[in-house]
Symmetry: C2
Subunit: 377 residues, 2 copies
Amino acid sequence: MNNAVCRLTGCEFPLFAFSHCRDVVVAVSKAGGFGVLGATRFTPEQLEEELAWIDAHIDGAPYGVDVLVPEIVDPRVAEFQDNEQRAAAISEQHRQFTVELLGQYGVDVSPQEVVRYEGRAGITPENGYAQMEVAFRHPIKLIANALGIAPPKMIEEGKKRGVPVAALVGAKEHALRQAAAGVDIIVAQGTEAGGHCGEVSTLVLIPEVVRALKGAGYDIPVLAAGGIMTGAQMAGMMAAGAQGAWTGSVWLATTESETSEAFRDKMVAARSRDTVRSRSRTGKPARQLKTAWHEAWDAPDGPGPLPMPLMGMVSEPAFQRIEKSVVNGNEAARDLVSYFVGQGVGLIDQIRSAKGVVQDFREEFVEAIGELNGMLG
Amino acid sequence: MNNAVCRLTGCEFPLFAFSHCRDVVVAVSKAGGFGVLGATRFTPEQLEEELAWIDAHIDGAPYGVDVLVPEIVDPRVAEFQDNEQRAAAISEQHRQFTVELLGQYGVDVSPQEVVRYEGRAGITPENGYAQMEVAFRHPIKLIANALGIAPPKMIEEGKKRGVPVAALVGAKEHALRQAAAGVDIIVAQGTEAGGHCGEVSTLVLIPEVVRALKGAGYDIPVLAAGGIMTGAQMAGMMAAGAQGAWTGSVWLATTESETSEAFRDKMVAARSRDTVRSRSRTGKPARQLKTAWHEAWDAPDGPGPLPMPLMGMVSEPAFQRIEKSVVNGNEAARDLVSYFVGQGVGLIDQIRSAKGVVQDFREEFVEAIGELNGMLG
């Protein structure tokens, strides 16, 4: 396709696939889209391994890496040096609350074991920078950042190496700040998106951001994110001013994805109204499939969410235990199975291959434009 | 344009303009769109007058009427026979809260005067039916209903007179129920919309509803509502499966509209994040420009919203007093000025004529499709 995003990143069809699964990244890029590996949950050593695998399997197709360098660190955790100190700051009340909540669904864990962490994992600036350094050692064609302004280090390194820097934003003002910082691509992500998101819908945010950038004299392409599960929606957001689509949830329902069988079943059954934007998984507002976990943590009489990254030290091991409990035959635990997913989950009705999803997008995209042309007569 | 919605309603360009202002309705229909008069705030006598005026000025162009027949009446108000009984049920606490809140902004009102109502006004089934009867006495080409399933009376009368019935929905399940009830057009309205709205974004809701209707064997066209302020967005939602756009907020920023100067200033200044979905104006969740009114009513230590229609008996006179106070020179009251408006308010940067808005939509629509075609090469 002939537009600025395709020229910048070398992709053929501007469908960007955010995934934590290297197989999805490779399959999408090889099918003409653009795979982006979400690095957050890997240690630098693990990330190195993942990217080496991608390099060996992607046949030279372009791909990217997405890291999180949080711009704002919650003052409640700013003083801590490592995960041991952070874990120690998690109150007895929060531990006990989690133990009791899981216990109600037959998932047993002791207050001592309810908090868990790996040495350097977690969403912190130090980890984001370490992942960035690993990423730049590979032939990436894009580096993306979320949770704040792309740091100067990333922008400098990107310019030096000719790697475009993309930044995720949920509001017009953030797009203008990112543009001033020097990013090359803005990913404008609506409130319907899975994972960290703002409050404005994709349909409104796209023209608002495109207009604001143009008005301020920036010539920066915008990708639309949030709710896009089909090529027809992608065409729609490109009609509204985007130069491509940034997608996440749709790849969770692929054969290659890291999602569990229990979660896949829930995705196929879910309606668009079954998600919630909640702080109860990472500490910042992120959209997920709604369960009793979210209701309990978000309730007025709950203990309140922990700040990032403490919340993840409680939630991630809890969700792992929940999945394991289901596999071991505990049907009650299914109610708690959840993951980051957008409102587009209401459009998931089957599990497809990642390559098949790219092909479907391409066909739906062309068909949608054909139908518009037909209506114009 | 050549599609089912245009054939059903007789409009040339499927841009539906919901407005409480007869001048907007006439201007839009005469410019090739389709004006829909929001009847809710009129008594049957007033509505008769408005529609007679429209008939005399619209030069035979097609137009419609939108009424609200709430399907579910809150059990707290179900027993009351009239507005006098309803008003008497509004607690001292709610009255006092309103008096104090307004007083903080220099808007003085006594607890006796804080509740106000006209004889038969308000959002009740009886008023909805009365408005419907008036509407059917005029040469309307569409009758629309919101807040629940279109009642059998409306559907029967529509079929008898050859007037298509449209129903507003915010969720797939509601669309299926409306289809089963026999409506002719579904208006799928996303959470970003002004006024009463659900939780799912327009971009997700459109394909979800279109797919659900088709899957259940219904051949019913869908209009996209929520966030649409430009012809490019309209083209986008038609790419995603809609057959036209249903719009509201964009007409508030026209020279013909009923909005005050103070509110127009706020619309031009507002960002998309400046709205809130709150029960504090009508009693049901409705999106509005966010002010201290909404923060106070929605606060955990507030008195809680009143049920429909009691909430409106408190809020509508309050907002009228606020506007009046601003006109009389009370600058502090500007902070409270609010009205129903969607997230698209972030895209309002000037006041245009209603005819000009239709022309802009038509040009943007054609241009957006041209750009998509250009990208396809």
